[in-house]
């Protein structure tokens, strides 16, 4: 047993000290947060500067109310639009003149409001060199529509403010019913589910492949010959798998701690500056516990498969091919995501989440979306546990023989023989 600890310790210590570990521990959260921040920034506001525009009003009655509607502000507090000039009932050739100004940079764009627009017979035109700015055009469209609608209503003798009250849309709040009470749904459930399941997917593959490489390293460097002359192959395999698992859990622990600190800090900062609620993704205790359990069980299952693959190959190229079936199993779980997302409690979803190879990812997703009945979680864990135990024993038998075999990759029939060797 002492030797098992030695093997595990070596695996853990040498791995945690590598640049790769330090790098991935830092880079993964930085990338994730970076992408989130980037998305939030790009989604909220695109234009970075005030646009100089001219408004050309053929009828002469709309410009004022349209300009009133263009009161958007940039992040730095500057107005979004600066109206350089307003031309009412312009003489012919004005548009041509404005076009030249846009081309030589005096203007960023100009807006044309045709005379027949209030009658609904024509459309407004926005002439710009940069038509790709979606937020700008939607803002313009709103301003023009509001102005035109207001004028139409006015023509019919209706007060605009009355209409605004009458057509006010009703908000629909989505509320998640759970055993611990009700929580308002703002998309966080799906986000948590997908984030956690994807995290599991990536770490299962990363650490599974790491286990495979660790087995291969000992085989190709031939250290294995000395190791098996010193201790049981099962201790070597178990020490390796659990050593790598400890590395994975260390990484998780670092991420969770840093994540919690950032959330607390962010919430504190948000309350100080009153910048609105910090978008904290609250992880429940159930979710955190399930993630750990399913990571550990899923990792054991896949790591033993990957370790068996590592033991039967002698080169990187062989490993590439031989690992495919195992990796495909993990990928399949992700492909089946949508079925669970559509209806986490449908018979198909329940059945799929019971398949041990998919269970770590799919059951976790179900727990995140809509906590399944306890018996289903228990049954799932039981199936997963038994399969894992069986696969570990099977992998140990393949490992024991494979690590001393060099040359051609074994066929399935040969593998079956390995399992039977004494």
């Amino acid at each position: 047993m002492h030797k098992f600890w030695l093997v595990m310790k070596r695996e853990y210590v040498t791995r945690v000290r590598t640049k790769g570990f330090i790098f991935s521990t830092i880079i993964v959260p930085v990338l994730t947060v970076g992408i989130l921040v980037l998305q939030i920034v790009t989604a909220t506001r695109q234009a970075g500067r005030t646009l100089n525009i001219a408004v050309l009003d053929e009828d002469g009655s709309l410009a004022d109310s349209v300009i009133k509607g263009l009161d958007g502000k940039l992040n730095n507090g500057q107005p979004e639009f600066h109206i350089v000039q307003t031309l009412e009932r312009p003489p012919a050739g004005t548009e041509e003149n404005l076009r030249t100004q846009v081309l030589n940079g005096q203007l960023d764009a100009f807006l044309v409001l045709p005379a027949k627009i209030t009658g609904g017979k024509d459309s407004a035109e926005y002439h710009t060199r940069n038509p790709g700015e979606v937020t700008i055009s939607s803002e313009l469209s709103h301003a023009v529509s509001d102005a035109v609608i207001a004028q139409r209503l006015h023509a019919r003798g209706v007060d605009v403010r009355d209409v605004a009250q009458v057509v006010e849309e009703v908000d629909l709040k989505v509320i998640k019913v759970g055993t611990h009470g009700e929580t308002e749904e703002k998309g966080q459930t799906i986000v948590i589910g997908i984030v956690v399941a994807m995290l599991l997917y990536t770490t299962l593959i990363i650490y599974g492949v790491a286990t495979m490489r660790a087995v291969m390293e000992e085989k190709t460097t031939r250290v294995i010959e000395i190791l098996v002359a010193s201790t049981r192959p099962f201790y070597l395999l178990a020490g390796k798998i659990l050593g790598v698992a400890a590395v994975g859990l260390t990484q998780y622990a670092i991420w969770v701690t840093v994540g919690a600190l950032v959330t607390v800090y962010g919430a504190a900062m948000a309350s100080i500056v009153h910048a609105g609620a910090f978008p904290a993704l609250h992880l429940s205790g159930l979710m955190l516990g399930s993630t750990l359990i399913f990571f550990f069980a899923g990792y054991l299952l896949y790591a033993s498969l990957y370790a068996a693959v590592g033991a039967m190959v002698s080169s990187d190229q062989e490993a590439q091919q031989a690992q495919m079936p195992v990796t495909m199993l993990v990928v399949a779980a992700v492909v089946l995501f949508n079925i669970i997302l559509r209806d986490p409690n449908s018979p198909t979803s329940v059945a799929l989440s019971m398949v041990p190879f998919f269970a770590p990812i799919l059951m976790l997703l179900r727990i995140a979306l809509q906590t399944p009945p306890l018996w289903q979680i228990a049954l799932c864990l039981a199936i997963l546990g038994l399969t894992t135990a069986g696969l570990v024993l099977l992998a140990a038998r393949i490992y024991r023989v494979g690590i001393l075999m060099y040359g051609k990759r074994p066929s399935l029939a040969e593998l079956a023989k390995w399992v039977k060797y004494t």
Partner: protein, 305 residues
């Protein structure tokens, strides 16, 4: 007598699928001796060693070490330098050795003390903090040798211990082997270098196709062949060697020529033939056959049978 047997292999057989790797092999290795396990490639040497090391279990037969059947703890009392060297290339020299010493049952403190002692003795102390991959092949081999002996095993298995070593380092390792033997360590030496076997081994076993074809004390084996070999240095026409009724085989080494005589052939006849042809003889010595010849004869003989 039984007490003095370090390793006792009795009727051991090992099959892989239909291939018979080792067939009913028995070895008795005396405590404190240097034992040569010889044989051509694929003869079953590695499989035999792996069974003694308890890496593999024999299908039939039994193996005893130091008077007891092999158990898990017997692995702590045996040292192993495999033919295919292997160390964790990206670990530091001292750390690798501490880990391997720990796997042989030494506690941290004791392992540290002995590893430092050995690094000093093999002049590797300034490399202790270097990564294994930065060491030359010869230095890596010395590190591997330390891993084999650091736990002072009573039984030491060395598979081709001198390859990749320059003459100076080979000499250092040879002296350590003799020193260990002096202190009672039993050494099992597996090698293809027959001159090393002749210089170091007390007893040998030659196996071919998984079976023992020759075993016993080296001196007795050579004596049993008698002085049937002539070691010659001459100047002149080699025609006098062309006497099929006298000469069984001729081996030219350049300066020296070794001639194996037919059974009951008289060496005097060969000398006479040389003198008659006017060949100048500088050396004419009747010796026991070199182990190399015995090896080839035994292995080739079985192969042709």
């Amino acid at each position: 007598m039984e007490k003095d047997t370090a390793v006792n292999v009795t009727g051991v057989t090992k099959r892989f699928d239909e291939v018979l790797a080792v067939n009913n092999l028995s070895l008795r290795i005396n405590a404190g001796s240097v034992f040569g396990l010889l044989g051509p490639n694929g003869a079953g040497k590695t499989t035999t060693l792996r069974m003694i090391l308890r890496i593999m279990v024999p299908d039939e037969g039994s193996i005893e070490m130091l008077g007891r059947p092999l158990t898990e703890s017997s692995q702590d009392r045996i040292g192993y330098l495999p033919e295919e060297r292997g160390l964790y290339t990206r670990m530091k020299v001292r750390e690798v050795l501490l880990f391997l010493a720990g796997l042989k049952g030494l506690d941290d403190h004791e392992a540290g003390r002995r590893v430092d002692e050995w690094l000093e003795r093999l002049e590797l102390n300034q490399w202790a903090a270097s990564k294994v991959i930065d060491l030359s092949k010869g230095m890596q081999q010395k590190v591997q040798f330390i891993a084999a002996v650091v736990h002072r095993p009573p039984v030491l298995i060395l598979d081709e211990p001198f390859t990749a070593l320059d003459p100076v380092n080979a000499g250092i390792i040879k002296d350590i082997m003799l020193d260990l033997r002096q202190k009672g360590t039993t050494i099992i030496l597996s090698t293809h270098r027959m001159e090393q076997v002749e210089m170091m081994c007390d007893s040998i076993c030659l196996i071919n196709k998984g079976e023992s074809v020759l075993d016993g004390e080296l001196a007795a084996i050579k004596r049993s062949y008698g002085k049937n070999t002539v070691r010659l240095e001459y100047e002149g026409d080699a025609g006098f060697l062309d006497q099929p009724e006298l000469v069984a085989a001729v081996n030219h080494f350049g300066a020296v020529t070794e001639v194996r005589l037919r059974p009951n052939a008289d060496a005097q006849e060969l000398l006479k033939a040389a003198v008659v042809r006017g060949v100048r003889i500088n050396r004419f010595e009747l010796v026991e056959p070199p182990l190399n010849d015995i090896f080839i004869q035994k292995v080739a003989g079985v192969a042709h049978a």
